[in-house]
C-alpha cells in the first residue's frame, strides 16, 4: 500500500499504518470527513468537481483554488474514484440490492457508487423479491460481487465465493 486517503487514521489497536507513516513509507491525504464523503458521492454521481466552505483557511485547503460563492469563501474539491469498494451490508438479495443495519451503513452506499467493482459482504443473502423495494438503500446496479458471511460464523473466516 502506497497511499491512504482518510479523515481519521487513528484507531485503538491500529499499529501498521502508524509504523509506516512514521517511517515515511506511506503517503497520507488527510481529508475533512464531509469532504471525503462528498468527494466519494461526486465520483459516483459523475460530478467533475465542487466548491465547499469546509476547510477554508485551514492547512487542509492549502494550495487549493478558492472562490467566493454565495458570500462565502469556498474551496475546490475533486471526486475520489476507486477501482474496488469493499462494503458490508445486513441483507442482500441475489441481484445485489442492499439493506444496511443501524450506524453500520457508514460510507457503504456512496462507495458502492464510486467504485469500478463493488464487492459486498452480507450477513444474510435473500431471494429476489424478498426485500421491500421501497426500503432498498443500495441498488443492484452498483454491486458486482457478493460474499455471504453469516454473523454467527464470523470468527471462522470463511473462504470468499462469487455469487
Amino acid at each position: 500500500m502506497r497511499k491512504i486517503i482518510c479523515s481519521f487514521p487513528r484507531q485503538t489497536g491500529s499499529y501498521l499504518f502508524d509504523q509506516k507513516y512514521r517511517a515515511g513509507k506511506i503517503e497520507l491525504e488527510l481529508v475533512p470527513q464531509g469532504n471525503l464523503a462528498e468527494r466519494i458521492r461526486a465520483a459516483g454521481a459523475g460530478v467533475g468537481a465542487f466548491f465547499t466552505p469546509t476547510g477554508y483557511g485551514t492547512p487542509l485547503a492549502e494550495g487549493k483554488e478558492v472562490r467566493e460563492l454565495d458570500g462565502r469563501l469556498q474551496v475546490l474539491e475533486y471526486p475520489i474514484k476507486a477501482d474496488f469498494a469493499l462494503i458490508k451490508c445486513h441483507r442482500c438479495d441475489r441481484m445485489g440490492n442492499l439493506l444496511y443495519r443501524k450506524t453500520a451503513r457508514n460510507f457503504g452506499p456512496i462507495m458502492a457508487t464510486a467504485a469500478e467493482t463493488t464487492i459486498v459482504q452480507t450477513d444474510g443473502l435473500v431471494g429476489i423479491g424478498d426485500l421491500d423495494p421501497e426500503a432498498i438503500v443500495t441498488q443492484s446496479i452498483y454491486v458486482n460481487r457478493l460474499v455471504e458471511i453469516p454473523r454467527l460464523s464470523r470468527a471462522q473466516q470463511p473462504a470468499q465465493k462469487e455469487a
Partner: protein, 224 residues
C-alpha cells in the same frame, strides 16, 4: 440568558455541561463533539426535546448503551455503543455530513485547543511532531452548524489562556465560534467584540490579564 453572573468558584466540568445544555433551545437538532461536550447530553432532559445527531449516521441518538443491550452496529462517533430513541433514523456519511454542511443542524458544541477572539477555532491538531494527523468531522461542523459553541477549560496545563488573540495551532475553521463555555467564564463572541456573560472564581481584571485582549465592558449594552 444575557444576565451577568459572578460566582466565587470555577465551574466543574459538570456545571459547564449543565450551562451549555440550558442554552440549547428546546427541540433543536444538535451535535455534541467528542470529549467534554459529550457530557452535555446528561443534562438534556425529556422536556428539552433536543434531537442528537451523530456524524457516523444517526439522528435521535439516545444515551450510552449498557453492556447487555450494546450493539456493535449502533455506535456514536467515538465508537461507543449507544441507543436509539423513538423517531430515530439512520443514513450514510454523505447524507450525515450534508446535514452539517447544508446548515441544517441548529447547534454544535465542540472541544478546542484554542479559540481566537474573532471565533477562529483550532481543535484538530497541535502540530506535534510524530503525531498521526486526524481531523474527522470537525471542519464540517465548524462551518456548517447554525450555531457553533466551544466547551473547554480556559487554561492549558501551563496556565496559558486557550482563548487567544490569534490561534497558533492549525485552524479548523475561520470565524465560526460564537460562544465559549469555560471553567472560569462564559464568553459570547459578537461583531462588536467579546462579551463575558458570567465569571466563575475570576474578576474582570484578572480575566483580561489572563487572555491578554480587551473585553467589552461588562455593563456595555447587550446587542438586541
Amino acid at each position: 440568558m444575557s444576565t451577568l453572573v459572578t460566582a466565587s468558584e470555577p465551574l466543574t466540568h459538570q456545571q459547564m455541561a449543565e450551562m451549555a445544555a440550558r442554552d440549547i433551545p428546546a427541540g433543536a437538532y444538535a451535535n455534541l463533539g467528542i470529549g467534554l461536550p459529550t457530557t452535555i447530553s446528561n443534562y438534556l432532559d425529556a422536556n428539552h426535546r433536543v434531537i442528537l445527531h451523530t456524524e457516523n449516521g444517526m439522528l435521535g441518538m439516545g444515551p450510552e448503551a449498557h453492556s447487555d443491550r450494546s450493539d456493535p452496529e449502533l455506535i456514536n462517533a467515538c465508537k461507543i455503543p449507544v441507543t436509539e430513541l423513538p423517531g430515530a433514523s439512520y443514513f450514510h456519511h454523505a447524507d450525515s455530513f450534508a446535514m452539517m454542511r447544508g446548515g441544517h443542524l441548529d447547534v454544535c458544541v465542540l472541544g478546542a485547543y484554542q479559540v481566537s477572539k474573532t471565533g477562529d477555532l483550532a481543535n484538530w491538531s497541535t502540530g506535534a511532531p510524530g503525531a498521526i494527523p486526524a481531523v474527522g468531522g470537525a471542519m464540517d461542523l465548524a462551518i456548517g452548524a447554525k450555531s457553533v459553541a466551544v466547551m473547554m477549560r480556559l487554561r492549558t496545563r501551563e496556565g496559558e489562556s486557550k482563548f487567544v488573540q490569534k490561534c497558533t495551532y492549525p485552524l479548523t475553521g475561520v470565524a465560526c465560534v460564537s460562544r465559549i463555555y469555560t471553567d472560569l467564564a462564559m464568553f459570547l463572541i459578537e461583531p462588536e467584540g467579546v462579551r463575558v456573560r458570567s465569571y466563575h472564581g475570576i474578576t474582570h481584571e484578572e480575566l483580561k490579564k489572563l487572555i491578554g485582549f480587551t473585553l467589552l465592558h461588562p455593563e456595555a449594552p447587550i446587542r438586541p
